[in-house]
């Protein structure tokens, strides 16, 4: 099927299907380019300990003890 034939068919699609088609094409192109995409079922670690305030307090106390030691 050529693009000329495809376009009228795509225009007939409901909005949700058009968006889904866009998504499929983007994923397809990204995979061809070797661009890794986030998968819904996968787990992606966040190593940065954000707001680890208890840990920060503990380390600061350790530093104070260390600096006070002879």
């Amino acid at each position: 099927m050529s693009l000329t034939e495809l376009v009228p068919a795509v225009k007939m699609l409901p909005r949700a299907d058009k968006l889904r088609l866009m998504q499929l094409l983007i994923i397809d192109l990204a995979q061809e380019e070797g661009i890794p995409l986030l998968a819904a079922e996968a787990e992606y670690p966040i190593w940065t300990p954000l707001n680890a305030f208890d840990a920060a307090d503990t380390l600061l106390q350790m530093l104070q003890t260390h600096q006070a030691a002879p």
């Binding site: 190593w47 940065t48 300990p49 840990a55």
Partner: protein, 141 residues
Amino acid sequence: MTTPVRFAYADAAAGRTDGSRLAYVPITLRHEAHVLAVVGLLDTGSTVNVLPYPLGFQLGLVWEHQTTQVQLTGSLARLPARGVIVSGQVASFPPVALAFAWTQATDVPMILGQVNFFMEFDVCFFRSQAAFEVKPKGEAP
């Protein structure tokens, strides 16, 4: 006045775009007779410094001897961590005492965070130039 030392951003993923460059600073860690030249990720969002297990092991730290438990957050929360203090030296600046949360995680970069790397060093980022500068704390520019 101490002149800041300028470092280039490093490619965290070879062959990727400019977006893969991160601020890794070379640093020499010392603990007793052990000396380790490594790079640490400058992470302003991290509340603490994080030392991966293998680096602590190479510094001669013994897990069972470290009694101060530290509770981390994020993906590191599920693994135990211990508080440790080692000496850290950037470039030819005087070494400073750095407190780390020594995690049992092995696949994490060494993270240099607010407590206490950024309390000891003033860092200026020039991301548009893919560079950053470091100098000891407490000196006006």
